[in-house]
Structure formats: structure tokens, C-alpha cells
């Protein structure tokens, strides 16, 4: 009996979710301890809260500016968090020699990398939940003020309709896909940053290249359309546009959050497709990142 238990305990599994979750939870702790996390999240919360006051200085549809600023802040800060935190993961582990300690144990590199990515994903989720909660609070406060104004100014026969319009303009379920799109975009950027860091020798280089990829990713759709619709002239132009279309993710797809903010309801099928494309990018760049990391001489 004792022999059986010890044999089971020592048997090494090719993939262990326990090992992955241990690495992921350790990564979350590491990231949360970083001052940059607090600074960025606090700054994002401050920007979202300040939109409450910005909305007052314009005569414009207050909720639109409020939602634009909130979703814009979420998008900028999750992008910064994804890039900065992921770029520092591998170099920090190499510098601290933690990487060697982990890989000296029977932990496959795949599990190590997956644990790191999952850790970043959870940290981004935490940040986005905090920012979304702040957005909802700000929208609710503004809605209360606007609704009170409407009740005072609108004739009784139109009051119910105006209040319904105010509520529809404030928080509506359409914003949830918007927030999810912001999240999946941040995770795609984190995965691309992870891929770059597997062959990069410094985290500054990783941040620089990841930022460039993000910028080019927003233009990938243009390059792809030009190339696929055969509007290119010249071999080298064709090669260049093809390289951009093939190697980079289409981040413009996730810009549909800007349309969601102005009240356009995103059809479920389109949201599922956009989310599916994001998930495909994550899997695709992660697999390449694994092979790149597996090739790396440590």
C-alpha cells in the first residue's frame, strides 16, 4: 500500500494544472507587489473618476464622453499593464535566477510559460474589474444627477420616456461586450509581448517592439485589405503588406469598443467572432512563444 502511494506521488505527469496554477499564483503575487501595478490602476481609476467632472464642462451628451473616457482609460491602462508587466516577467526571473530554480525541477517550459501568461491574465482581469466598477459608479452618479434634472424640467407626459432614455444612455448591457473586448485585446498584447520576451535580451527592447506591434496591429487591416484585394503595385510593396498582414494581429477589430460607447449594440454573433479571433491570436502567439522559449539556451 505504502509502495503504491509513493509510486503515485513520484509519478511525473506531462502536464499538471497544479504546477501551472502554482506558477500563475506566484506570478500574480509578483505583479501585484510591483509598484507600477498600483500606480497604473490608481491613475486609471483617477482618470475614470475625473470624467465625472469633465462631462460637466461640455454641453455635449454627457454620458457619451463619460463612457468614451472610461473605456479609453481602461484600454490605455490595460495595454500599459499588459506590456510593462509581461515584458518584465522573464528578464526578472532570469536576473533573480528563479527561472533556473524552477526549470531545474521537473517543470516543462510549456507549463512555466503558461503559468506566467495565466498570471498576467488574472492580473489584467483584476484591473479591468476594478476599472469597470469605477465606471459603473461614475455612470450611476451621473445618471442620478441627470435624472433629477430631467424630472424637474420635463413635462409629466414625457417624463417616463425621458427617464427611460437617460437610463438607456447611462449604463446598458451593451457596455459589457465593450469591456470584454478591451480585456481580450489586452491579453492578446500580453501574449505578443510574452512571445517577444522569449527571444529578446532586454525588457526595454521587448517593450519597444511590443509597442510597435500594437501600433502596426491597428493598421494590419488596411495592409491586409490592400494586399488581399490585390491593390498593391510592385513586388516589394506586395511583400511588405503581406508580411504585415500575416505576422501581425488585427487589433482594429477590437476598436469596435468605440462604436459600443456611442450606443451601437454589437450583435452577439459579431461579438463571439471578435472574441474568438482574440482567443485564436492568444493560442497562436502562445504556441509560437513556447517553441521560441523551448529553443532558447538558458
Amino acid at each position: 500500500m505504502t509502495t503504491q502511494v509513493s509510486a503515485r506521488a513520484t509519478k511525473h505527469r506531462t502536464f499538471s494544472f497544479g504546477r501551472v496554477s502554482a506558477i500563475a499564483s506566484n506570478t500574480i503575487l509578483e505583479l501585484i507587489r510591483l509598484k507600477v501595478f498600483y500606480i497604473l490602476v490608481l491613475f486609471a481609476l483617477a482618470v475614470i473618476a475625473s470624467s465625472l467632472f469633465q462631462a460637466k464642462i461640455t454641453f455635449q451628451d454627457q454620458f457619451q464622453i463619460l463612457k468614451d473616457v472610461s473605456l479609453g482609460a481602461m484600454s490605455i491602462f490595460t495595454w500599459l499593464l499588459a506590456t510593462l508587466s509581461t515584458a518584465m516577467l522573464l528578464p526578472k526571473d532570469i536576473e533573480d535566477r528563479t527561472l533556473y530554480t524552477i526549470l531545474a525541477k521537473p517543470v516543462p517550459r510549456f507549463e512555466y510559460l503558461l503559468g506566467k501568461l495565466l498570471g498576467v491574465m488574472v492580473m489584467l482581469l483584476l484591473a479591468i474589474v476594478l476599472m469597470s466598477a469605477m465606471m459603473v459608479v461614475v455612470l450611476y452618479l451621473r445618471e442620478t444627477v441627470v435624472a433629477a434634472d430631467e424630472v424637474a424640467q420635463t413635462p409629466p407626459e414625457f417624463r417616463a420616456q425621458r427617464l427611460a432614455e437617460v437610463r438607456a444612455s447611462a449604463f446598458n448591457p451593451n457596455l459589457i461586450p465593450g469591456v470584454l473586448v478591451v480585456y481580450i485585446k489586452a491579453v492578446v498584447i500580453a501574449t505578443v509581448t510574452l512571445l517577444i520576451s522569449t527571444f529578446s535580451s532586454s525588457w526595454i527592447f521587448t517593450i519597444f517592439i511590443s509597442t510597435a506591434v500594437t501600433l502596426i496591429g491597428h493598421l494590419q487591416a488596411t495592409a491586409r485589405e490592400v494586399w488581399m484585394d490585390q491593390q498593391v503595385h510592385g513586388f516589394f510593396t506586395g511583400l511588405f503588406t503581406a508580411a504585415i498582414a500575416i505576422l501581425f494581429p488585427d487589433l482594429q477589430v477590437f476598436s469596435l469598443v468605440d462604436d459600443i460607447a456611442v450606443g451601437t449594440a454589437v450583435p452577439l454573433i459579431l461579438f463571439v467572432k471578435a472574441f474568438g479571433l482574440g482567443t485564436t491570436y492568444i493560442v497562436m502567439y502562445f504556441v509560437v512563444a513556447y517553441f521560441s522559449f523551448a529553443s532558447r539556451e538558458l
Binding site: Q60, D259, L270, S295
Partner: protein, 267 residues
Amino acid sequence: MSFSEASPLRRYLLCCGLLVAFGVAKLPFEHALTRDLHAAHFLQYQLNLDVRAQVGQMGFVAALSGYRAVVADYLWIKNYEAWTRTEWGRMKFLMDAVTMLQPRAMTFWDDAAWHMAWNAGVAARENPHEPSELLRMKAEREYIETGERYLLEGIKHNPDRARLYERLGDLYARKMFDHCRAAEAYAQAAAHPDAMPYVKREGAFELAKCPGHEREAYDLLMRLYRLSERERVPTLLRLIERFQTELNIPAEERVDITEDLKKGTPQ
């Protein structure tokens, strides 16, 4: 030979090959999704050299990086500042950029048209520096037409919503005094599920002012009269009364509006 046994160069080549293979495989899906999004009126913005000139280098880079909504809001606040200084030319410049960046934001189209057709139009008509009344009227007319262009362009990007059709009806009715086109615009607005309840009535009132459509207007007014007591506002009742006389409606088909008029404006 396994992956770990291959030479570093071979392993890196394999990674590149994998990236290219994945990249090629994703292309049709990306292409189809972009087309679907465009068909559903998403991602219709234009980032061209005009926008580059209007938003500056940093703004353009921000817009390219996926922050066009924030850039558009920033420009809109600049537009508000320009409005407080009544800089109509600069306002048009900024509003062009904002509407190009956020074509699905109806409020930008709506306010851009309002600024041009109402505010700038009146300012041009009452311009103390222009002694010629003819030129003042011409300038006002041009601003009103600019407002109309904003609304028509906005409708192209937002054909699925009522608000801009309604504003176009307001512009034709109150600024251009083209009651036939106003009636048409209100009717198009009323056909949308998000139209305000009074829009159909506004359309009927405008149709009543459109020469040659009196019978059509009367039928529409009667339909509204029978639809609900809430529709029986004094203007509607007076128009029915007028058309009953003008169109020689037979006595048995006529409605007596006296009682309704006594009740006053429905609440």
C-alpha cells in the same frame, strides 16, 4: 530528429514557419470579420490626411493606436471652446475631424448641424461687419446648407436610427422652409422604432403645408386622430377642421372637433 535536438537556427526557422503558417490561416477569418463589422456599421471611421491635418501628429498616432474615441472627445471639447469664442471656421474644421473619427456618434452630427445651421447661420445674418444684406443672407444660406450636409452625411453612417432624420426634418421645416422635404424626413424618422412619439404628428403638420398633398395630409391627420386621444392636440384639430372645409369632405365622414377642443391639449 526531435525539436530539442535540432540546431538553434533550425529551431528559430521552425518558429518563424509556425508564425507564418498561423498567420496565413487566420487571414480569411480576419477578412470576413472585418466585412461583417463594416456591414453592421462598425469601424466606419476614416483616418486620412485631412484628419491628420486636423488632429496633429500626436492625435493622429493616438487615433491610429485605437484611441480615436478619446481623440474625438478631446477635439469636441476644443470645439466647445471655439464655440464660446464664436470661431465658426475653426468649429467646422474641428467638427469635420470629429465626425470623421466617430461617424456612429449621432450626437456629433446632430450638434455639428445645429451649430452651423442655427448658431453660425444666425451669426452670419446679423453680422455687423457686413453692410450688404444680400451677402449676409447668402452667408446664412451657406451655413444652413453646411448643416444639411452634416445631417445627410450622418444619416449615411446611421441609417438605422431616427434622430438625424428628425433633425433633418426640423432643418427643412424651420430653416429652409421646404415643408415637403420636411414631411418626408419626419416620415422616415417615424418609420424607425426609436422615434419620439411626436415625430409622426410633426410629419403630418409639415405635409399639410406641402402644396398638392392636402388630401394625403388630411388622411394622415385623420389616422392620427383615430389612433389615440393623446394625438388630438389643437394644431391637429384645427388642420382637420380646415381640410374638411377645403377638401369638401362629405358631412357623414367629418369629425366634430368641438368637444376635443374643449378638452384642451391632451396630457
